[in-house]
Symmetry: C2
Subunit: 225 residues, 2 copies
DNA sequence: TTAATAGTGTCTCTAAGACATTATGTG
DNA sequence: CACATAATGTCTTAGAGACACTATTAA
């Protein structure tokens, strides 16, 4: 077996696809790259950074550090998405990007939005460097797929929400329309949200029962929405 | 943004989890590491190797080259599994393993089995170096999960097979028992296999209709087996 | 009372699960 | 003909899809 030291190593970075819902549409967070970056300085891209072998204990530590340093966020629910690697994807040479994705309520990212951090709708992405468009679309596919059999979309909402809002998020993320009674039966059966007694949200009409997630972690079902 | 050149890079390798069915049980292929490997020389492990930035165009090329060089196989159906990285997983220091998995009929690997290449049952793994046990168990979970909504298990079988054999593979891989009429209805509905007219397999009793896969590629369903 | 949204009832029909039965080969 | 395995029929029942209806607030 060839020894590592004999070979040149690829650059290894992580990239994060952070999803949220804004105005009923799925958005992704992008951040301005440093002015002294070797490639694409000052351009907007997925937040990412190199693995620091002297600082990071493992890949998740890299992700947390990068999110904190580049966009000032502490880690939400994050999951590994996929790894992209090749000679072509970075003008600087052979590189590997280990992509993660996260899902947060809009309020979570609002404090850091500004000149250097933006939200863009996933179906109206601006041009992005590297293979970031492919990474985003892989993330959207995963989000779509996993939404069909998990409570993932519930994490796009704030602490409290109505069942109609929950249904709208499922519909938006999955790109389908759902029947209200069926949706409510399934949500009831899975029991991943609970009504907050007494808490209601009223507009000009009949107020809606407020719900919250049960438990902090993602739930997976075998049922399909 | 920090520049890559300022940082030490982790070692990057790929590892392959190659599944097959032998004697009705799910097996994984392991291979003996080179005698001059820096760590775990001569030990059995998942076949793997470093990314060669001067030879490989992308990650899949690395996988294909490694599979060819280390076990003498050309690439079957392969899919990226997950990426494992950290300071702890290799005694040689910070390392990243991008794991792939594949699914093949036993006949595919038989020619290369011998002193340096073995098949072991997934539920009776010998001790393996690095975090290879975790990689295998991640692969088994993926295989299980994906079997519920795809034709993946059909690729563990030879060119031709009976419906009972197909059902047994699904049962073996998913770890459940299935009802025969239900299973056949679903297979029929998905249409990912077809009967071969006239071809039968007979034991001492009523011969069974032989089937083959339709198309070369994996099919995904929304239905759950 | 009306408008608008929240929430539930109910009917139909598909299909899963379970069990039984028929079909077809060998010795 | 007995036997073993292959393949199919059928009954029950759960639940999805579709549509209609009731409930509750503000203006």
């Amino acid at each position: 077996m060839a020894k590592a030291a004999e070979h040149q190593k690829p650059n290894v970075s992580i990239d994060v696809v952070l999803f949220t819902i804004r105005g009923g549409r799925l958005h992704v967070l992008i951040a301005r790259r440093a002015a002294d970056a070797r490639v694409f300085p000052g351009k907007f891209a997925l937040p990412g950074g190199y693995v620091h072998v002297d600082e990071d204990q493992d890949l998740m530590a890299t992700v947390r550090r990068v999110l904190k340093q580049k966009v000032g966020l502490t880690a939400p629910y994050l999951e590994q998405l996929a790894t992209f690697g090749g000679a072509y994807r970075d003008p600087d040479g052979w590189s590997i990007a280990i992509a993660y994705y996260g899902v947060v309520p809009e309020s979570y990212v609002e404090p850091v939005l500004g000149q250097d951090v933006r939200l863009v709708p996933v179906d109206e992405l601006p041009p992005l460097p590297f293979d970031h468009p492919e990474i985003v679309s892989t993330g959207v596919k995963r989000l779509r797929g996993k939404s069909g059999y998990s409570s993932l979309p519930a994490f796009l909402l704030p602490e409290t929400f109505t069942l109609n809002e929950l249904q709208e998020v499922y519909e938006q993320v999955m790109g389908v329309r759902l029947e209200k009674p069926t949706f409510r039966r399934k949500v009831e059966a899975q029991g991943f949200v609970e009504a907050i007694p007494g808490e209601m949200r009223g507009g000009a009409h009949r107020p809606a029962q407020l719900y919250r997630r049960v438990g902090e972690t993602l739930r997976e079902f075998d049922q399909v929405f």
